[in-house]
Amino acid sequence: MSTGSQEHLRRAQQSSGAGAHTSVHPLYQEWVGYEAHDVHEEHEEPLVDPQLLANALGWFSIGLGLVQLLAPRAFGRAIGVGEHPVLVRAIGAREVVNGIGLLSQRSTGTWAWSRVAGDALDLSLLAIAARRPAADRDLQRLALATSAALGVTSVDVYTAQALARVPVSEPAEMVSASCAVNSSPQALYAFWKDLANLPRFMSHLESVTRIDERTSHWVAKGPAGMSVEWDAEIVRDDPDEGFSWQTVPGSEVTHEGTVRFDRDLAGRGTIVRVQMRYIPPAGRVGRQLGRLLGEDPQAQIEGDLRRLKQLIETGEVATTIGQPAGRRSVLGRVTLGRRLQ
């Protein structure tokens, strides 16, 4: 595939918005040659799309919950437990909340497990009802209701497990960028490989210190002035061509990245391509908060590569921070020095 069509592919993927949540970028696979450093276990395709099942269960929850909320007495009689409007309404409310949760597409796995927990509660309530010598119970109906509940429970368990197997059910962020640099792949590789250089152009990093040949300790500025630390290891190393790294298991953040240094045609230097994926500290909330504070990961990585280019080509990073100016307006003080120099 030519560089042009790769670029086209990358753009098409970005513009479709698929980049942020797909498990592995096709181009990424092509560079790295294997899938995302096996952070996530290989999994077989499920028979039914678990997301689809989750949606169906969501609507089912809401429907059932509404019946329980609106006609608790009739519902109680129908399943043979007699009239317990308060308890049935409470169960109905739980069903509705659970249904909305499943349909919200957020933390679907958790909501699916919460349905399983609800099922267990329901089954125990049915068992209690079966033992009670109440006049209004109907054992035949109770048996039917219990078998229905067991059926639903099996679907819930299946869905929850299938969702857990879907890679990156967490809100992972995938960003990629490239930049033509007037230097050789060898020089760029050497510069990047010296990890202490990274904070010189990655503006969100405070420091990177080497622990051993493969592992290093990273300290980054997180959203809202928080500091985030993790250990990363190099998982693939192609001298003068690029390498890949990822956080060690159990880190505060999950992060992995690949950088490639591809020699451009006719002595036009090197094209640096970076692809990074990470799960931000506070998950989705952390990312949204970060965005709010103007820390867009895509813009960040593009800026980082631009600064790398400046450092490599000129030995310094262009700046105006610290230069004089006349009296600023309120607007100027808010804008300048943050989004603009």
Binding site: T314, G322, G326, L336, Q341
Partner: protein
């Protein structure tokens, strides 16, 4: 120090600001001795260039004395007298290696902003909005000059500030406008706008061997200077139809090349001017391209339209059918000043060229608000305003300031 600051549309003021200091290894600090208002500064003054903020220090034509150099600058010494090119260029990138200095990839700290508007970012420019870096400009007592090992040109003591100051912008800009015309013997070159850039384009076209230069403007004093610069013919567009007269003068064929030395705030006669004024005022087009349209229509088939005037955003009703069907070549760009400075300095040293003829007003920096107003309104036959911060004792002409 004192600096001329942008304070809003139509408002500049001299403010007391902190002195600049070295921020990067390849910086130098220059104590300004002479600086000028460029025609393109008027686009900032009139509010047609976005991302200007109150307090921005203006000015991109300046020269002075090096008073401090960073550890990365080895070719300049404290005390050197230098002229500084208006684009900031690193000298190391793809474009700098090809002498396309105004396209430097590494000097605009706000490149991402320019990329959103233009696809790619040009070089950083002194005192010319945050779109081109937000660098503090040279209409001040001191300036920080980034990549000082690449830009500033040391000038000999034998030459006056007024003779070499314009190497910073308008002289190379006029020269590049003419060079882009690929002039052959006997060529007719039409130049729209007889401000400093237009005048130097005329002068350069003659130096490059143009057979005939036709200058177009509406101010008699400017047309007079055009003749002095070497234009064979002058056209006052308020008196005659430009397209007709150009055809007539060239036997119907049209000029071989046309230079737009006017840019985004063009003024022409007729209905189209009102059309552009209204669209620009309503923000339906950012630039008024009346001269560009005329140049394209006037240019002979297969000819060159060379655009030295500044455009910022979007233009409307471009006769692109004429560009295509007449096989017109359009050449443009911010000037690659570094490329031309040395050879132009040689022409000045040899006496072939004396750029100081364009100066009409010599003011002190404190008089900047007056200078801007006068230049914008073309009052008092104003063509070029220079601020002399340290008047050299040997300056021949007395400083006269009309304070009407």
């Amino acid at each position: 120090m004192k600096a001329v600051c942008w304070q809003g549309i139509g408002q500049v003021g001299v403010e007391d600001v902190p002195d600049p200091y070295i921020l990067n290894p390849r910086d130098a600090i220059v104590k300004v001795t002479a600086t000028a208002i460029c025609g393109s500064d008027l686009h900032l003054y009139d509010g047609y260039v976005p991302t200007m903020y109150r307090g921005d220090i203006l000015g991109h034509e300046f020269m002075g004395e090096v008073v401090e150099v960073g550890p990365g600058v080895s070719n300049l010494s404290v005390g050197d007298r230098v002229v500084v090119p208006f684009p900031i260029a690193c000298g190391n990138c793809f474009y700098c290696e090809r002498e396309l200095y105004s396209l430097c990839e590494n000097s605009n700290p706000n490149a991402q902003l320019a990329e959103r508007l233009w696809g790619h970012s040009p070089a950083g420019i002194f005192g010319y909005s945050h779109l081109t870096g937000g660098y503090a400009g040279g209409q001040a007592e001191y300036v920080r000059v980034p990549f000082a090992d690449v830009g500033p040109l040391v000038v000999p003591e034998s030459l006056e500030d007024e003779q070499v100051l314009f190497l910073s912008d308008v002289l190379p800009t006029g020269y590049m406008a003419a060079e882009q015309c690929d002039i052959e013997e006997g060529d007719t070159i039409a130049v729209w706008g007889c401000g400093p850039v237009g005048l130097f384009a005329i002068r350069s076209a003659k130096l490059l061997g143009a057979g005939r230069v036709i200058a177009i403007d509406r101010y008699p004093e400017r047309l007079g200077k055009a003749s002095a610069a070497g234009a064979e013919m002058t056209v006052n567009y308020e008196e005659v139809d430009v397209l007709e007269i150009l055809k007539e003068l060239t036997g119907g064929r049209g000029p071989d090349a046309c230079i737009d030395a006017v840019g985004m705030e063009a003024h022409v006669r007729g209905v189209s001017h009102a059309y552009d004024r209204i669209k620009q005022a309503m923000r339906l087009e950012s630039d008024r391209p009346a001269v560009l349209r005329q140049a394209i229509l006037a240019c002979r088939s297969g000819g060159v339209v060379s655009v030295a005037g500044v455009y910022g955003g979007f233009v409307d009703k471009m006769p692109f059918g004429a560009v295509m069907n007449k096989a017109i070549t359009i050449k443009s760009g911010q000037t690659h000043v570094h490329r031309y400075m040395r050879s132009l300095l040689e022409r000045i040293e040899s006496g072939e060229l004396d750029p100081s003829f364009i100066i009409t007003h010599r003011l002190s920096l404190d008089e900047a608000p007056l200078g801007y107003e006068m230049f914008r309104n073309k009052e008092d036959e104003c063509v070029k305003v220079v601020f002399l911060l340290v008047p050299r004792p040997s300056v021949a002409s007395p400083i006269s300031i009309p304070l009407s």
